[in-house]
Symmetry: C2
Subunit: 180 residues, 2 copies
């Protein structure tokens, strides 16, 4: 859909008092109707966990050639290896059998467009309180991939760390470049 | 591929000294070769953020009728609204224009199969240290969806909280059930 068509769509939705979520739920009804082959195990078939940015342009199935059932997908703002990512990886390996970890940051990331200080100040001024968490912005994409890979490799809670590799996905060319 | 075929595949890979990540990277080369239409903005077209479990069976594009470019996808063990999810949602809404949030837990979740105490003890015994983070296991799926929805609705850092809705996806039937 073009941007203009979307704006028109947005306007009609707002006038109707409905939301995008209503549309997603309607899609889910269609999905259930044609649902055929349930996957019977929570253990990923290819025993790999992917840690990536939440960015809307990253279709990890398409990029990495994954099928449903293949891999754990862990995603947050930036694809940064935060404590919550370490938590998810710990559970992924210890309880659900994964053995390898691939980290994916990407070009044109939103996390490159503002600073830690900016957002912390914005939150303080608007809400009267600062978050207890780090915003985790970065200025150097490659360096942040290395930092995330290091955080995973240094975590004692993640037992399998021989195959932990970090990449940058180029949203303009579709290419994946290995960093660490 | 069948389980037996996969085991054979695993054995051959191990003998060759290669890894699943090598296979994913090979897929990425193919992806780049056929890559045609770059999406030019980090702002999700449908202005929605999805918070879901990392489970390999959840194909959120298929379930929710999403296209690349439509939505932020935030995923962790359980789909629980941790501080890192609040961080991602804060950035998603304040810096990248999303306005609605859908949370998705699912049946047969790994997080239902062990307890907070079990994993904390396992980590303490094996590594000599306990994690500073909560494991975030749960025993009641619906209750945990409600808890996650509440955490988001109560966060002052997330400015748009009128459309925050929580669901359970049934991995056996493909149906999405609204909880909160």
């Amino acid at each position: 859909m073009t941007a203009a068509a979307w704006n028109h769509h947005d306007r009609r939705r707002e006038l109707a008092g409905s939301s995008v979520i209503d549309e997603l739920v309607a899609s889910a009804v269609g999905h259930a109707t044609t649902f055929e082959a349930p996957l019977r195990t929570p253990r990923p078939a290819r025993r790999v966990a992917v840690v990536a940015c939440m960015d809307a342009r990253l279709d990890l199935f398409g990029i990495l050639g994954l099928q449903p059932g293949d891999a754990h997908l862990i995603r947050n703002a930036g694809g940064v290896a935060t404590d919550d990512v370490i938590r998810s990886l710990t559970i992924s390996q210890r309880k659900l059998g994964t053995r390898e970890i691939i980290l994916v940051h990407h070009t044109d990331c939103g996390m490159l467009t503002f600073t830690e200080d900016d957002l912390r100040l914005e939150l303080l001024e608007e809400t009267g309180t600062k978050p207890s968490w780090a915003v985790e912005t970065f200025t150097d994409l490659d360096l942040d991939v290395r930092s995330s890979v290091q955080r995973v490799r240094q975590s004692p809670f993640v037992p399998y760390r021989d195959h932990v590799r970090g990449f940058v996905y180029d949203v303009d060319t579709g290419a994946l470049r290995e960093i660490a």
